[in-house]
Symmetry: C2
Subunit: 307 residues, 2 copies
């Protein structure tokens, strides 16, 4: 089924304990779209770049089935740029530089071809942009999922809450869930967040896995312990892409299928962190993907027979 992905397509410069990159391609929508492309082919992108962006990456997206009609290319302007440095434990990072560039005036336009998509994934972006996209849809998608971050909670909470009220699935990390709800217990946080709108809460915990909450049900997906974790950038976006991709492919929004979607999202994310940027997400084989999913199945397998 059709999927609309909204988010940044951008440049990152990344420093981790294992290496350093110059400007490479990144951005939430890049990761989401690439990850989702392993599940569905009818993908539409709404984003903005400057005329400094490499055509080769746009070709990669197109080859992956991503329709770029909704991608604005601003003549004479520069693409969004972020640079950051990860600490030794890879769980925290400092932002070294943020250049909004084209994002400063971004006014998203959903093309006609994408106004009736079945699934909508709002990547991390200004809440006003996310809201504008929802408002442009001609019919309500079967499922709207939204990613966001503490930055928007700090500077734009009222707008953020407006978007949160309209979505079905919210994906945030554990400290953001605590910040948004004011509750330490993630169980209580989920119940408070459900009252804000979403029916499903996905809490991303990086190397500690992810939690899926729906009503009083909860599911815990591990992250795969990896021999090499090279660069965590984009892991959360890749996770979201695998998640929404699997749901769009299966057209099944039941809780048991969301659990599968979490596993697929986690599997996709486990590839992303193995290399800098989007490199590892391009050209994965179905066999490679299946093997990785099997690793997740094996990882949590145990057999207890209660009397």
């Amino acid at each position: 089924m059709s999927l609309l992905v909204v988010g940044t397509v951008a440049f990152d410069a990344i420093e981790t304990p294992f290496g350093k990159t110059d400007k490479i391609v990144g951005g939430a929508a890049s990761y989401i779209a690439l990850a989702a492309s392993y599940f569905v082919k009818d993908i539409h992108l709404v984003s903005v770049i400057g005329d400094d962006f490499p055509q080769s990456f746009l070709n990669t997206l197109t080859a992956s089935g991503v329709n770029l009609e909704g991608l604005q290319i601003k003549k004479g302007e520069k693409s969004f740029f972020w640079s950051g440095k990860y600490h030794n434990d890879l769980n925290s990072r400092d932002t070294l530089e943020t250049q909004l560039n084209v994002l400063e005036t971004f006014n998203p336009v959903v093309p006609e071809s994408a106004k009736e998509v079945d699934f909508l994934m709002l990547g991390n972006l200004a809440p006003a942009v996310q809201l504008s996209v929802i408002n442009q849809m001609r019919k309500r998608p079967k499922l709207i999922a939204m990613d966001t971050m503490n930055f928007w909670m700090d500077i734009a909470m009222p707008e953020l809450l407006k978007v949160v009220a309209l979505v079905d699935v919210l994906t945030i990390n554990d400290s953001e869930a605590r910040q948004l709800s004011g509750e330490y217990s993630l169980v209580k946080a989920a119940q408070k967040i459900f009252k804000m709108g979403p029916k499903i809460l996905v809490i991303k915990k990086g190397e500690h896995g992810a939690l899926l909450f729906h009503k009083t049900e909860v599911f815990f997906a591990p992250a795969l312990p990896l021999e090499e974790v090279f660069d965590p950038t984009g892991a959360g976006d890749t996770f979201a892409g695998g998640f929404i991709g699997h749901i769009a492919k299966s057209e099944d929004i039941s809780f048991s299928n969301m659990k599968r979607a979490i596993i697929y999202g986690s599997a996709m994310a486990s590839f992303t962190v193995e290399k800098f940027g989007t490199e590892r997400l391009v050209g994965l084989s179905q066999t490679g993907l299946d093997e990785r999913v099997q690793d997740f199945i094996d990882l949590v397998q145990f057999d207890i027979q209660l009397a």
Copy 2:
């Protein structure tokens, strides 16, 4: 089968965002022995207290099947005392006060009745004390498990490594695994630690669950997302007690049984954090325990059929 538990029996004063206690009963061996008592009844304790310790708690231990022959009671001396304050996220804490008291001169004596136990659990204590206990065993236990912490890595690494070389199972947290091995990747950390002696590495991650490593195999057990997390003190010790308790009960040291042991340990620990101190660990019913284990089974259940 028989189990020997070595560790502190002590007083704690705890402050969490949810409340504050005066001196209450704590100590690694208290938690380990109580948790293990739900699985086996032939438990021996080696520890030391002052004559300030409440007889009622010793009666609780005895009633739980714990043989106190190896518990030294020092006349005119005071029990070990620790006080600490947890930060808002409960994942970190500050030590406010440590009074070694009887621990300062603790010379453990394994009673004759405990010198041929089948299983030995060395709770977190000075490595020299742990080593002394191993050396006093008349025959090597079927399995020796050991808990320790960064404190000993900081001040007594050479002694610690001597003990590590002699045990089968090492339980530490993720940052300790990184400190001990000098590796960020937990997969690599496990391989390095195996070279130090242990065949099994259990990495405790608190609210993020636990990892079990053996050769190239890995198992991930979640922690149960709880509505109320009141006091994390003793969770790791309780986990170790449930873990070794299940293994001692089943007499099975296969990897698949260790996975079950991790789940039982996690289930026991999920009770401990619901109240201050050891309170929640006393008087649990088999039904309550089974229901909690079932929660863990449900928590990670998903169904993916790969082609």
